[in-house]
Amino acid sequence: MPSEAKPAESFVEKPKTLAELREGIISGRTKAVDLAAGYYDRIARKNPRLNAYLSLTKERALSQAARVDALAAKGEPLGVLAGIPVGIKDVLVMKGAPATAGSKILEGYRPPYDATVVSRLEAAGAVLLGKLNCDEFAMGSSNENSAYGPVRNPIDTERVPGGSSGGSAAAVAANMAVATLGSDTGGSIRQPASFCGVVGVLPTYGRVSRYGLIAFASSLDRVGPFASNVRDAATMLGVIAGHDSHDATSSEAPVPDYAAESDKPAAGLRIGIPAEYFGEGLDPEVGAGIERGIAALKAAGCTVKPVSLPHTRYAVPTYYLIATAEASANLARFDGVRYGYRSPASENLAAMYRHSRDEGFGAEVKRRILLGTYALSAGYYDAYYLKAQQVRRLLAEEFLRAFAEVDAIVTPTAPTPAFKLGEKTGDPLAMYLADIFTVTASLAGICGITVPCGTTRDGLPVGMQVLARHMNESAAFRVARAVEAAKI
């Protein structure tokens, strides 16, 4: 008998680890098709309330699972993700499957190609279950900007899962996928990972191909994984990282074995703590969680020292000018001509553009296109866009100086735990400030991880952000493993 009132059903459930599942599939004890079917059952049960999945790719998933089972039966070598059920944020394209980017303007669109990360996951044996809900064009911090309704946080369904990759975070937290992919432009992987109590990775700019990612702000957009533990996230990154000739910004740097790197102890690593992330506006319970995490890192043999990032307070205005300017250009392509929604019966071409975009885009997308167009328009370019790019250099250089002295920097991922649905929807600026600790790494191009770091008294997850210099994901994984191992 329960001693106190409890919710009728808990949505939270931890997936088995990749290694456990893969072992089962190789040995034949688990059939990939049964595993996938089990995930589809769980999705059928939980998704009506959580709204994490927008569409399912069952046929493709089950034929991939059957292929994996056939290889396993013959004793053939299997990829590192053999039979692993994975979900894909709906800003990444899969051939023939809906790709809405959370927007009405892409309703009915069926892309004729696969994103590079999608091909790489399948080549490693992953079973792609379906497409995950997100804020429209990845613009938002709560998933409430999706044209297909908000995602609910599996830990407390009255709260937001964070955004924009809210579906990707919620799906892992509710075990509706073992791992997922999201995208992060100003915090869209790290912040929902924090709100849902899972691991989320922001890879270095250029580390993971964006070919097949619906663009929001191209100098900031990145693709990265979510998983229930650090090692699985490292394994996922190892699969999707690496050079791709289809993405001109993709790096030719070799890809380390991130999972093996994450096994190395954190002892001896130098950790920087920036006071700028621990001041006014930080929820005390979040601060206390991060302090416990820092204590655990000391106990694990890390050295901890203060670092100074004095331009932090300018990061949100810098970010919103750059991101909206780039978005206003990127979203010009949605015009009702080549794909997606076209407003019926317009009198001429210009009216067709206007009506299609008016009816297809939501309020936040319009707000950002207007702000970006304004910031780029004649007479304002120097004052806004150019100024923001100058501050961007100051922010990037101050990180590089800090990383000359430390291997990683740890901060809270978000100033608060998950907030209530509707709490910030009336005030765009309040919503933007939810990204205050994540936009810095976005602007600097460095890598980062969110790792769960305790909970508040109400049981809401606290996330620690571990940042490392460009292409040093290995250091971030080692630090995150140490925090995870401390079971804070």
Binding site: Y109, R110, P112, Y113, Y205, G206, S218, S219, A248, T249, S251, E252, H311, Y314, V316, P317, T318, Y320, L321, S328, A332, D335, V337, R338, Y339, Y341, S346, N348, L349, A351, M352, Y353, R357, D358, F361, A363, K366, R367, L370, L371, T373, Y374, A383, Y384, L386, A388, Q389, Q390, V391, R392, R393, L394, A396, P428, L429, Y432, A444, G445, H470, M471
Partner: protein, 104 residues
């Protein structure tokens, strides 16, 4: 940088962006844009004289890596027309069709 945006500005920017704003949308956008622009004016506190703009971070990353910032500009095959055209709202299978461009 602290100039207030007017209704006329919002309408003009909307026109540039091919966006149509309804009568109830314009005042809300005006209010939000002014609030956001007031906030971003904080950047004026910083003296950025002589700081080179950073358009994207690849230039920081590529120093000493031996990798060029840009790939060679060589023609490559694109997607097959037959796969692309069915996605368009209106085509004749060869060209995209749109409403008339010029009024008589």
């Amino acid at each position: 940088m602290t100039a207030k945006v007017t209704v006329r500005d919002v309408e003009q920017v909307a026109e540039l962006a091919h966006l149509e704003l309804g009568p109830e949308e314009t005042p809300a956008m005006l209010r939000d844009l002014n609030a956001i622009l007031d906030y971003v004016a904080e950047l004026n506190e910083l003296d950025t004289t002589g700081v080179a703009p950073l358009a994207q971070v690849s230039e920081l990353l590529l120093e000493g890596s031996g990798q060029g910032a840009l790939r060679a500009d060589a023609p490559q095959p694109s997607l097959d027309r037959a796969a692309v055209m069915p996605q368009a709202p209106e085509t004749d299978q060869v060209f995209f069709k749109v409403p008339k461009v010029i009024e008589r």
